[in-house]
């Protein structure tokens, strides 16, 4: 036995101090290492944001938000971390808004647009500018208003080009460039039938846009779907006459996925004007888009179409479920999942803005009431009536808001993404599966809850991203712990030392409610707090994180001369 025990002991003694067997792994932060990315290079920084811009629901809500309650709205933006927004059909919205601002007969125009939002574009552009927000403007080229006051439509390409260019010119002339992260060439056009025509129209428009604003960022939407993607079923449910939906109702994925390649070919003479490719990812199970599989699809597509390999990426819509579960965001488990997924996106060097679908429904960004709290749609009519509604719109932050608020507050001051990992691994080339592992395990937990059985443990992890201020005088570690127990993460610095107290900003959930749908208008069951940690000294320390928690820990640094 001695022959075995002694070598084993010696091997353990040799390895243990090196940390190879230690769990959790030590967070390594090398101030001299090249950052994964520098958010100062992104026009959509702090990059984590929302699809939608409170310009979708109704004129009443938009006016409440952008005109009559701007101070309150600014606080909501801060508390929901909604620094990046993305209005759909931005050129239509702008055309209607300009006409609305000029018309002498608003009542008549209201009748023309009973459901279309009518708001002077200066109202929202000035709000974005005042609050340091960024918008990814989603344009549509299928057609424009011939006469926006009367609601007539035309699809002539020259008129369409002129309207879109007028819009760009209006942004430039009114000095709103700083709040435009970029332009998106249409919302999910790949569900349509004719990529060649689609590319032909944008090829005519894009160079004219660039002549007005040469530095503008432009993204072209691409799609890579797999069978079973929840978004496919959702789109099919509301689509008719699409090539990729066969007569029998089955899908032709080859046709759907061919769309992107054909669009690229159709745009081949304009790719030099394209800065970004755009993806929408729905579905958080391992095979679907929100996770490493989605990142893999981006890479695979770039291999097949090297024309776009150098483009940066916007994910302008994402959600763990599609329309079949519009209310999935109401749970704090969803917030924890987002805590993971957002860090994974941050750790991808070529991904810039990512936008949660969406800001203005029970997506967890802002809950909005005009008598009942808006769900995107729910065929079962499970809207929540607003108990305290008094005849004017009400808005409040939803359960994802604190996650975005905590992360973006840190990123605004710490734009250098230095390292990323979880309890087991870290580094620029590591694929971290924590988000899908956690998400997958929540199904079993929900089933146990429904059958009144003991809940199996979640396959949680502590995922983190170490960020630094531009001058490397401050460290902020963004963290999520989806375990049901507190974990202490060791941290080691290189090239810098700690120089003061840590400040923890965190959000967690009332015990027993990680899977509960949280009801808007009621006392939030999530708990936001800010605390100080004892002074950190030297190059080593420990970062604690409580159960079911998303947090940032910010610590001053010293000693870096670079």
């Amino acid at each position: 036995m001695k022959f075995f025990i002694l070598p084993l002991f010696m091997a353990f003694a040799a390895i243990a101090p090196s940390g190879l067997w230690a769990w959790p792994a030590t967070i390594l932060v090398d101030a001299n290492d090249t950052p994964i990315k520098d958010l100062r290079n992104s026009t959509s920084a702090p990059d984590l944001g929302y699809a939608g811009a409170i310009l979708e629901q109704s004129t009443l809500i938009s006016e409440w938000f952008y005109i009559s309650n701007r101070v309150e709205s600014a606080k909501l933006i801060r508390d929901a971390g909604a620094w990046v927004v993305r209005p759909w059909s931005a050129n239509d919205l702008w055309q209607r808004g300009i006409a609305w601002a000029k018309t002498k007969d608003r009542e008549a125009m209201r009748k023309v647009y009973p459901h279309g939002v009518l708001i002077d574009p200066h109202a929202y552009f000035s709000f974005w500018k005042e609050n340091g927000m960024k918008a990814i403007l989603c344009l549509e080229s299928y057609g424009v208003y011939g006469d926006a006051e009367k609601g007539t439509r035309v699809n002539d390409i020259e008129i369409t080009k002129k309207v879109i260019c007028d819009y760009v010119q209006w942004i430039v002339d009114n000095d709103y460039k700083e709040c435009v992260a970029g332009f998106e060439l249409g919302n999910e056009p790949y569900f349509g039938n004719d990529p060649e025509l689609y590319g032909q129209r944008w090829s005519a428009i894009v160079p004219a846009m660039k002549r007005i604003w040469p530095e503008m960022k432009i993204g072209m939407p691409l799609a890579e779907y797999r069978a079973g993607d929840p978004d496919i079923a959702a789109v099919r449910a509301r689509a008719t006459g699409l090539d990729w939906v066969q007569d029998s109702g089955e899908f032709s994925f080859s046709k759907l996925n061919q769309w992107s390649g054909r669009f690229i070919v159709a745009m081949s003479n304009q790719l030099h004007n394209i800065s970004h490719v755009i993806y929408h990812f729905y579905g958080a199970d391992a095979a679907y888009g929100c996770g490493p599989s989605g990142f893999s699809r981006i890479k695979s597509f770039a291999k097949v179409f090297p024309e776009v390999a150098d483009k940066r990426v916007w994910i302008t819509e994402f959600r763990e479920r599609s329309d079949e579960d519009d209310r999935c965001h109401q749970t704090f488990a969803s917030s924890l999942w987002k805590g993971h997924y957002l860090l994974s996106c941050l750790a991808h060097p070529n991904i810039d803005g990512i936008s949660l679908h969406n800001l203005g429904t029970l997506a967890g960004g802002l809950a909005i009431s005009t008598g009942s709290w808006l769900v995107q749609w729910d065929p079962s009519g499970r809207d929540y009536i607003d108990i305290d509604y008094a005849g004017v719109p009400r808005m409040e932050v939803g359960p994802a808001g604190p996650v975005f608020s905590i992360y973006t507050a840190a990123l605004k001051k710490h734009p250098l993404i230095i390292n990323h990992g979880n309890c087991e691994k870290q580094g620029k080339n590591e694929i971290v599966w924590s988000c899908v592992m956690y998400y997958g395990s929540t199904w079993g937990q929900v089933s146990a809850l429904a059958s009144n059985k003991p809940m199996p443990p979640a396959k949680g992890n502590v995922e983190w991203a170490a960020t630094m201020s531009a001058d490397k005088s401050s460290l902020s570690v963004l963290m999520v712990n989806s375990n049901a127990r507190k974990i202490e993460m060791p941290i080691e610095l290189k090239g810098v030392e700690f120089a003061g107290e840590g400040v923890v900003k965190s959000v967690t959930i009332t015990e027993g409610h990680v899977h509960s749908h949280l009801i808007p208008g009621e006392r939030p069951l999530w708990i936001v707090s800010e605390n100080k940690l004892p002074r950190f000294e030297g190059a080593r320390g420990t970062l604690p994180i409580g159960p079911n928690t998303v947090q940032s820990i910010t610590i001053p640094l010293k000693g870096n001369s670079k």
């Binding site: 749970t331 079962s380 009536i385 108990i387 429904a450 009144n452 899977h515 006392r523």
Partner: protein
């Protein structure tokens, strides 16, 4: 305990009258004490709440007794429940274990108005657990308004005469300091229970509404 007190009093009277011998009196006392012990030990129980969404009650004006100090948050929830679900289906108390259904099945609403209960009724229901079920105008949803004044957590088992339930929405008022301050919390489970009858939590010293949409 009432039963025990009545038995002791009856036994005392019988003893004074000399109509029963001491052996019988002792036996009655032992039985009564056993019942009291059973009542104390089996306080945390589940009770059935049968819901017939098509039911028609005699009145929609029902007032429930709520703990002093809880009026403001409770009224917020109760007024909301009454506004959205104006039709009273049933009003009753939790049926104690082994007693069968709840009192309302035999005598809905009547015995609540005068506040008097005969011994049989006291044996059947738990006056500390009172509930009302209301339906909305289209009878596509109902709300269970329930007050648990006991110190024990209970479970209401919802039995639907027709339809199935979506996830219930709980709106709860509770106190953590013996009734000095009252707090609210509201949530909805992520999925309707797989179990039938559907269990609804009724924790100690709480007032709550549980809103359920039918499918």
């Amino acid at each position: 305990m009432l039963v025990l007190a009545k038995t002791v009093r009856a036994a005392y009277k019988e003893n004074v009258k000399g109509t029963q011998n001491m052996k019988t009196i002792k036996l009655k006392l032992i039985l009564a004490l056993s019942s009291a012990v059973w009542a104390v030990t089996v306080q945390a129980y589940s009770f059935k709440v049968k819901v017939d969404i098509g039911e028609v009650a005699e009145t929609n004006a029902v007032k429930m007794a709520i703990p002093k100090g809880s009026e403001k948050p409770v009224n917020r929830y109760f007024r909301f429940a009454e506004r959205t679900h104006p039709l009273v289906l049933t009003h009753g108390f939790a049926a104690l274990p082994d007693q069968g259904g709840s009192e309302f099945e035999e005598d809905p609403l009547e015995s609540l108005d005068d506040g008097t209960f005969d011994t049989d009724a006291i044996q059947k229901v738990d006056k500390d657990v009172e509930y009302v079920i209301r339906a909305n105008g289209s009878r596509s949803s109902f709300v269970l308004m329930i007050v648990n004044r006991k110190k024990e957590n209970l479970t209401a088992e919802i039995e639907l005469k027709r339809g199935r339930m979506f996830e219930p929405v709980y709106r709860r008022v509770y106190s953590e300091d013996g009734g000095k301050t009252w707090t609210t919390m509201a949530w909805q489970p992520p999925r309707a229970a797989d179990l039938y009858p559907w269990p609804i939590e009724v924790p100690a010293n709480t007032i709550q509404t549980v809103t359920i949409i039918l499918r």
